[in-house]
Amino acid sequence: MSEMNEFDENGPEVIKRFMYVNRKAPYGTIYALECLEVVLVAAAFDQDVSVVFLDDGVCQLKKNQDTTGIGMKNFSKTYGALDDYDVEKIYVEKESLAARGLTEDDLVIPVEVLAADDLREVMAQQDVIISS
């Protein structure tokens, strides 16, 4: 198994701003889980990483998920580890939350809630945008 540091020869001279955009709800499709897996790996490359949740993507962070009845892994707990992985820029679009009747208090982790007008500017500053 290769663990971190293997790619150190590539960096840190190139630091790019990577944004991972989540627009899909969890469980109905695998995209939310596999995007999270990318983010956990991406965290090991000394890049500027941010994660965005908008549209149905905000539902990934809903508290109180209980997957025992559907037999799938409850990976909403894993968002709590993002801080340990040094992923600190986590943005949620305000309008998407409101449209789904949710507030910041409904989310599993502390996030930065941004209005579309502000999130737009953060998105515009990225070098690489990976959507799933």
Binding site: M1, S2, E3, M4, E6, F7, E37, L40, V41, A43, A44, K73, N74, F75, K77, T78, G80, A81, D84, Y85
Partner: protein, 110 residues
């Protein structure tokens, strides 16, 4: 591959991680450790228990650097460093400690 433990056969994947993590037990951990030439002492258990608690909370086996940092936070700097962890688990805290703890392969391996 499989482990025999208390008369029960416990299946693993190709790399020796048990495939049904609900079948883990302390006895099994000792069996896996034997296979890895590790004799479990309190220090090994401390790390294995830490990993299991981490998994319980976050549903992932942490990458090595994350594990090291998290151990440093809870158990102190003399244990939260890779030298200490590699002394306990010579083939790596991920490869061996997670395996012994009955967890999947760490998330965040490149």
């Amino acid at each position: 591959m499989a482990y025999e433990c208390n008369g029960v056969t416990i299946e693993t994947d190709e790399e020796g991680y048990i495939t049904d993590i609900s079948l883990w037990s302390r006895e099994l951990a000792i069996r896996i450790a034997e296979e890895e030439n590790i004799e479990m002492d309190d220090d090994h258990w401390e790390v294995v228990n830490f990993l299991r608690n981490y998994y319980e909370e976050y549903q992932i086996a942490p990458a090595v650097r994350v594990l090291t940092k998290a151990i440093k936070k809870t158990l102190g700097v003399e244990k939260g460093n890779s030298k200490y962890l590699y002394e306990l688990f010579p083939y790596g805290p991920a490869k061996q400690a997670c395996k012994i703890a009955g967890l999947p392969k760490p998330t965040g391996c490149i």
